[in-house]
């Protein structure tokens, strides 16, 4: 039995859904993309041309919810379905779109470039706790116009895992869809076994921006999965109450799903978000706050009543270093996300309100994820009897008797998660002998080991050639002839 955390009663969920429908009519949703407005108008939504606001009737939402796939898979490079969106399956991926990376030597937050993203990819590729990669940081060493596509290009070159990504413009989302098609061999191949899912964000409160709605439409038509990342901020860009925030989140997701399904009924889309409270002292959006995790658990519960696949942003911290605060915020929130049965939990590795990434934090967070996954693995029945079968004539009433049993050896790894060397369970003597390191110190060593053991996946040379050519073509359109040198290739 998978343990579950639920925070809302059925009655409250019914009221959330009801009030979300009311919000969609009054005040309605601001839809800033003309194509999306056309789709909505044709479908019978109430249009207010003066301010781009659209009233979306409940009937349109119901129709959209009827055509949404209840489950789908993301595939790895070899074509294996490794991430299942749907039900209560839980997956984790590193956070996306950081702009800085913790320098483990200086502890400065360095502006991210190609080398930083590759470092993160190499580490996450070897940690089984991460079911997918992400386009984790922006590479500021390439022209702005190609930064979205370039991140995806680097992930495709360095990973076999599925990818959680996203685009910041309508132009780049199409380029990234094209890149996936070219890499897969055809648009149909990219659609049949999708490798990547795209985060798409509405703007709170109740706004689907030109590029947000545009992304939804492009992805729907390409058949590439979209993941709504609604970001209501309690008390600032959403009502101060948790239930008010979750209701706004529901309305924003409803509107997104309607636009998406009007563009192409049956295309895969996920009910996700990065909801957060608004800190009233600092004006910040704490991702490590327990209320943030409670908001996510709550909206996931709403999604599950609609049988929608789910996503959230948890497992991150607001601390600037990989320290005790980072550990407790990331660990607790990852656990809440897992117990909520959320299909994809993004955010690991991230510090400073999702601005800064850290490879050291990725390896530490992997341990928290392992604990969370162990927790939802539940307490299982492994033996015919619960206990009596463990006692026989060899029991001599001494502590340690059970260490002698074959069944102990057979079952202990099913019952107990064995953490990596990042988690200290040494005696004081052994800990001192290993250098008296704290968790960050041990994580630094582990990162060094992982970087040394990384081997770039073998990718079909023809595919790789197509990818390089596509990326270089995009680059040249920006007036630049050369991209940063990669270990194995100089793209020029």
């Amino acid at each position: 039995m998978q343990p579950k955390l639920t925070l809302l009663s059925d009655e409250i969920i019914a009221r959330i859904l009801e009030e979300a429908h009311e919000l969609l009519l009054c005040p309605g949703v601001k839809v800033q993309n003309p194509g999306a407005r056309d789709l909505l108008a044709t479908a019978g939504a109430v249009m207010y041309p003066d301010n781009d606001v659209v009233g979306i009737p409940a009937s349109l939402v119901r129709k959209a919810l009827e055509s949404v796939p209840r489950e789908f898979y993301l595939y790895d490079y070899d074509g294996n379905p490794t991430v299942h969106y749907g039900g209560d399956d839980v997956h984790f991926d590193p956070g996306s779109s950081g702009i800085a990376m913790l320098n483990p030597e200086t502890l400065e937050h360095d502006t991210t470039e190609t080398e930083h993203l590759i470092r993160l990819l190499k580490v996450a590729e070897q940690l089984p706790q991460y079911d997918a990669q992400s386009t984790a940081v922006i590479c500021h060493d390439v022209p702005k116009d190609i930064q979205d596509s370039y991140r995806l290009y680097l992930v495709l070159l360095h990973s076999k895992k599925p990818i959680v990504t996203g685009a910041f413009t309508n132009k780049t989302v199409q380029e990234m869809i094209d890149m996936l098609s070219i890499f897969a061999g055809s648009a149909q191949a990219a659609r049949e076994k999708p490798r990547a899912i795209f985060d798409v964000c509405p703007a709170p409160p109740l706004i689907w921006s030109n590029f947000g709605a545009g992304n939804l439409i492009a992805l729907a038509r390409a058949g590439i999965p979209a993941e709504i990342v609604s970001v209501p901020l309690s008390g600032a860009a959403a009502p101060v109450t948790m239930l008010g925030t979750v209701t706004q989140h529901t309305a924003e997701c409803f509107a997104g799903i309607v636009i998406h399904q009007l563009a192409q009924a049956g295309s895969p889309i996920v009910w996700g978000g990065a909801a957060a409270i608004f800190d009233m002292r600092k004006g910040a959006t704490p991702m490590g706050a327990v209320e943030t995790a409670m908001l996510d658990c709550s909206y996931a519960q709403v999604a599950k009543t609609l049988n929608m696949p789910t996503h959230t942003y948890l497992g991150a911290t607001d601390s600037k270093l990989v320290d005790a605060q980072a550990g407790l915020e990331s660990g607790i929130s990852a656990m809440v996300g897992a117990l909520s049965g959320i299909n994809m939990i993004s955010g690991s590795g991230m510090l400073d309100f999702l601005a800064c990434h850290s490879a050291e934090k990725l390896v530490l967070d992997a341990e928290g994820i392992a604990m969370a996954k162990r927790m939802i693995g539940g307490v299982k029945l492994h033996t015919d009897t619960l206990a009596t079968g463990f006692y026989d004539d060899k029991i001599n009433f001494k502590g340690g008797d059970f260490l002698k049993q074959k069944v102990t050896m057979q079952l202990f790894q099913k019952e107990q998660h064995l953490p990596s060397s990042v988690i200290d369970r040494d005696s004081t003597r052994a800990w001192k002998a290993a250098g008296s390191l704290d968790a960050f110190g041990r994580a630094r060593i582990r990162v060094t080991e992982l970087l040394a053991s990384y081997k770039r996946p073998e990718i079909d040379p023809a595919q790789e050639h197509r990818l390089h050519a596509f990326m270089l073509d995009l680059t040249k359109k920006t007036g630049v002839d050369i991209l940063p040198l990669l270990e194995h290739y100089q793209p020029a």
């Binding site: 502590g399 340690g400 260490l403 002698k404 074959k406 102990t408 050896m409 202990f412 003597r429 052994a430």
Partner: protein, 218 residues
Amino acid sequence: MSEEMYKQMAQCIIDGDSDIAIELAKKSIELKMHPLETITKGFVIGVNYIGDQFGLGEAFLPELVMAGEAMKAAVAVLEPELLKLGEAREMLGRVVLATVEGDIHEIGKTLVGTMLSASGFEVVDLGVDQPADKIIGKALEINANLIGMSALLTTTMVRQREVIEELDKEGLRPRIKVMVGGAPITRDWVTKIKADGYSEDAIGAVKVAKDLVGKGDQ
């Protein structure tokens, strides 16, 4: 033939399979293989391997303990044969182990016993809640050269000092060395009570014991 048998013997220890260990030990007797060589060239190789693997983090406590048990089972079959030949397996030392009076914590001490035994010490484990006179009496009875005492409580660790003081009073040290262990035991405490050695874990205890009996190189 012997080489193949030795390999199987080492493997059954690695697998922690006492039944096969006994079977192979009996077979070696039937084949008139020398019991001492059977132990040193066969079974001990397995114990050493699993000990090394444990040290590297590649093997786990159940494997270590089961290997120790399988080793014990094989040696129990072979020892009478050694006696018949008028020989004995050279032991690294003779150890009395106990948890001190008033303390019933056992697992750490039992693991130390398993490790010492598997490493070639002759071990008599008295169990828990053992008063000083019983520990010393047993040490004298078996002519032990090492006493190992465990205490898990700050309230019972003082008993370790009582045993040491009693040994000193009787003039039994340095003939009998004393090693101590247990969660509250620190190096300061060891110095204070004038114990000869201590370890924080069972693997470390083997090295300490070897050093104390002058077999640190083995």
